[in-house]
Structures are given as C-alpha cells and as structure tokens.
C-alpha cells in the first residue's frame, strides 16, 4: 500500500517497513536533480523531521519523513546517480527505508486517489 503527504513524499509500507521517495510530480517541479543526501542507517526520525536533502540545478529542498521510526538504509545508488529521482521517482529513485515505530501515523496520510486530487488543484 502506498501513501502520500502534502509535501509530495510517498511511502510504500510492507509490514512494519516503509520505503520513502518523492513523487513524480515533485521531481518534475524540481527539474534536473544533481545531488541527494540520504539519512544514515540507525538514524531515529520523528514524523515530519528533515530526513534528506535533494538538490536540483536550481534549488535545494528538504525531504521530510512521512512517519516516525529508525532508518534501515539510505539509497546508496543516489550518490552516483542522483538523476534516478528524475527518471524513476516512483521506483529506483527511492530515498530511504525505515522501520515504523507507530503504524497509526499512516492513517493521517493520503492514498493515491486523494494525492492525485490534491495535485490536480495545485
């Protein structure tokens, strides 16, 4: 099941493990991505914390974690290929995996239909 935030992050949840990325809409707004700073394994994050930094040619943006938990791993592939976020934001361009500490936080997020409706109004 995939959930979305109003800040254009997505999280795929499988049991207590979530994979977080930014949406295709977000990468399109950012333009060419040249650098991504992902969180280190073991980092404790509270929902809404700044978890990663994504830099396009023209701007730097913070990426917030949609849920609280402990980082399992950052996507090491983004160090050499930050443009994976442009080419495959929904898949290979994921940012980090996290062990959820409170699965009830997911209830506050949007499903795909709600996110699409949200973006359509922007």
């Amino acid at each position: 099941m995939r959930y979305f935030t109003e800040d254009h992050e997505w999280i795929d949840v499988d049991g207590a493990i979530g994979t977080v990325g930014i949406t295709d809409y977000a990468q399109g707004q950012l333009g060419d991505i040249v650098f991504v700073d992902v969180p280190a394994e073991g980092r404790q994050l509270a929902k809404g914390d700044e978890a990663a930094v994504v830099e396009s040619v023209k701007a730097a943006s913070d990426v917030y974690t949609p849920v609280s938990g402990t980082v399992l791993e950052g996507n090491a592939a983004l160090a050499d290929q930050p443009d994976l976020v442009n080419s495959d934001a929904d898949g290979e361009g994921w940012f980090f995996r996290i062990t959820l500490s409170d699965e009830s936080e997911l209830e506050e997020l949007m499903d795909e239909g709600a996110y699409e409706a949200f973006v359509a109004k922007l």
């Binding site: 800040d7 254009h8 992050e9 930014i22 977000a26 333009g31 060419d32 040249v34 650098f35 700073d37 930094v53 994504v54 830099e55 040619v57 023209k58 701007a59 730097a60 943006s61 913070d62 990426v63 917030y64 930050p82």
Partner: protein, 393 residues
C-alpha cells in the same frame, strides 16, 4: 518536501518591485513550453526542456536566449564619448566604429553600479551629416537606475534614448554564427566584440558577435513587433533550441563571468571583482574616472578581498549566501554565485575571499546550512572560452 532555497540564482526581483512586466516574446515562450518565473522585474522563462539538457545543447550546438529585459540605450551628443569616460573606466574615445567593449558604470567611490557592453556605431545627424552614437546594453534590473545616474553625471546636451521598442535575442554556441548566417547573410564576417547593421527579410537588425556564455555567438537587437517571427525563423533551424535563464546562469558561471546583483554590486570595485582588464591603460594613467583614486590605490596595493572561482569537492551545490570560513570557523568571505556545472559534472562557485587566499590551488572551507564543504580556488573560466577573435578565421 519543501524548497529550502528557491531559484537562488535566478530570482532577482526585489519584493517591493511593482508588477513584473511581460516580454515581447511572452506568448512565444509559453507556446514553446517555457516555465515562467519573475526575474529582474520581468516574467521570464527559467527553462524549457530542462536546464541540464539546455546547457549541454548550447555547448555543443546553439541556443536562443531572450534577453529583451536588458536595457538598450543609445547615447548621442557632442563629445558623448568623452563625457561617458567620467563614469566608465574604459577608453571610450578610442573605440572605433563597429567595435564594442565590456565596461563598468562606477559611482564616486569606485563601486560598480552596473556592468555593460558599449559599442560605437555610425549614425546620421538631423542635418544629414554623418556622425557616431554609442549603443549600450545594460542589465535589466538596473537599467532605470543607470539612466538616472547617467542623467546626473552627463552634460545636459547628451541625449539618452532607452530603446524599449527593441527586443534583444542572443544566439550562443559553436554552431550559432554559421546557422544565423543562413538567415542573416554576412553576420559571419563579424569577429568577437565587433558589431554591425544587418537585415532579416527587410527588417533592420543590429548584430554583435558577443554574449555571456563563454561560447561564440551573436546578440541581435530586433524590433519588438517582428521578434516573434524572427524567433520562429531561428527555431526552424535544427541547430537552435530555446534556452532559459537557468542554463544562462550555469553557462555564465562556468565561463567565470560575474552576474550583476550577485557577484557585483555597489560595494565591490573593479579590482575586488578581478575585472582589472576593464580599466584601460590610458585611463589609469589619466586617473580621471569616478573612484579612480581608490581603485588605483587598490590596484597598486591589492584589494582586501577578491572575487575567485572555487571548485567544490563533491556534487552538492554550494550556492549564493554560503560563508567562507577560516580554520576556527570565523566568517572571512562569502559565496556570491554557485551551482552544479553541467559541463564539468561537479559543483563550482564564485566567492569573495581575503586576497591572501585568492591564489589558485588554495584550499578554503565553505559553510552552507550548517554543513562544511571543502573547496579549492581555481582559475577562471572553469570552461575555456571559445570566442572567435580577429585573425582566427
């Protein structure tokens, strides 16, 4: 996700500015997929297909830039060249017809009010006698202040005409001149920093072989009412694609060229900005331009701080506003432009640093949003210029 810094090097309009103006090509940019943003008091395209692709296209082929926001001024009057030398440190009296120079508009303290291109061109007086006039292209964000300063500084019999009925296009890249020559015969006879009158389908154009990307190319002044048709004709050439402000900024940064309002401002002098080439020898000897005493003293003894290029370790851009710090973390300078260099595949910047740290190869530390970045002072341009000079053809 949220923008920590939005469009750092391309958002220039002060917040108190009036409603941004529209360019003559506004509808054309939108029709070609331009993403429009406010810049220098205008709504301008920041990108079309994407900054990276546009940047690389200019380096290998040719790109079309709309720079109609810039001020095109024509100055006329007896001894206008001599009068202008009060506020420009270049040899304007020695400027030949069809020749152009880069120069700096200075205040009385020697601070840079603007950087500009000035060209002497032939004209005809009202009584039919042949004469010359000076054509200046100044920055868009500063053009009205420049006119105000010039009106103060110049004698009353000098006339300044802001040509706001003229659009300005730049075509830049290794294939620019040969491609434009198919539409505008003869422009390939120009060499770098020369200019002349040409025509496209009967429309008069003023064309110079110049630009601000480090590449060979042309800048073309064209009447606003035909600029859309002319831009269409240029874009029909397979070598030419439209290029936005984003790539214009990364191209000029790689070329080591300062951007006014970022790398230059009234607090910087030509010596601090490492633009000593704009101080003509004859003018230095005469010491008769605004701020000459301070500027010449600085040139003699060295400025306290100097504009340098930086190669930043790693891929993360370090942008305008980052600090240069010493080993103890004390702020000793600041980054005035910075970003990712598509041609080099790494991060580069321009900064003002103490002169004893300005030699190429010197290591410096930068701090941005609490994170330390290592950098090395590098000679500029970062990417070699490819201008086509006299005798090179």
């Amino acid at each position: 996700m949220s923008d920590a810094e939005t469009l750092l090097n391309v958002e220039d309009a002060p917040e108190d500015q009036e409603e941004p103006q529209l360019l003559p090509l506004d509808a054309w940019h939108r029709a070609h997929g331009g993403r429009m943003v406010p810049f220098a008091g205008y709504i301008m395209p920041v990108q079309y297909e994407g900054i990276m692709a546009e940047h690389l296209w200019v380096r290998e082929s040719a790109g079309l830039f709309d720079v109609s926001h810039m001020g095109q001024l024509v100055l006329t009057g007896e001894n206008v060249d001599r009068a202008l030398e009060a506020v420009l440190p270049g040899d304007i009296q020695g400027l030949g017809v069809g020749r152009m120079r880069y120069s700096l508009l200075l205040n009385d303290e020697g601070g840079v009010l603007d950087d500009l291109m000035i060209t002497r061109r032939a004209s005809t007086d009202e009584d039919g006698t042949s004469s010359t006039e000076l054509y200046m292209v100044v920055n868009g964000a500063t053009k009205y202040d420049d006119i105000g300063h010039l009106l103060e500084a110049l004698p009353d019999d000098i006339t300044i005409n802001l040509q706001d009925e003229q659009a300005l296009l730049a075509v830049q890249g290794p294939k620019a001149v040969a491609t434009v020559a198919r539409l505008v015969p003869g422009v390939d006879s120009l060499v770098f920093m020369t200019a002349g009158a040409f025509a496209w389908n009967g429309t008069p154009l003023w064309v110079s072989r110049s630009g601000y990307t480090g590449e060979d190319g042309l800048e073309i002044s064209v009447p606003a009412e035909v600029v859309a048709a002319f831009a269409d004709a240029l874009l029909e050439q397979p070598e030419i694609r439209p290029i936005g402000l984003g790539a214009r900024d990364s191209l000029r940064l790689e070329a080591g060229l300062p951007l006014y309002g970022h790398d230059l401002d009234p607090e910087t002098t030509p010596v601090m900005a490492d633009l000593g080439f704009a101080l003509a020898k004859k003018r230095r000897e005469a010491a008769d331009f605004a701020g000459a005493a301070r500027i010449l003293a600085e040139r003699e003894r060295g400025p306290a701080v100097k504009r340098v290029g930086l190669l930043v370790t790693g891929r993360q851009p370090v942008r305008e506003g980052a600090s240069v710090v010493d080993a103890d973390g004390a702020v000793i300078g600041r980054v005035t432009s910075g970003g990712f260099a598509p041609t080099l595949g790494g991060a580069i910047a321009m900064a003002y640093v103490p002169t004893d740290l300005a030699a190429p190869g010197t290591g410096v530390r930068l701090v941005q949003r609490g994170k330390v970045h290592e950098a090395v002072v590098a000679a500029m341009p970062f990417v070699p210029h490819r201008y086509v000079r006299q005798g090179a053809q």
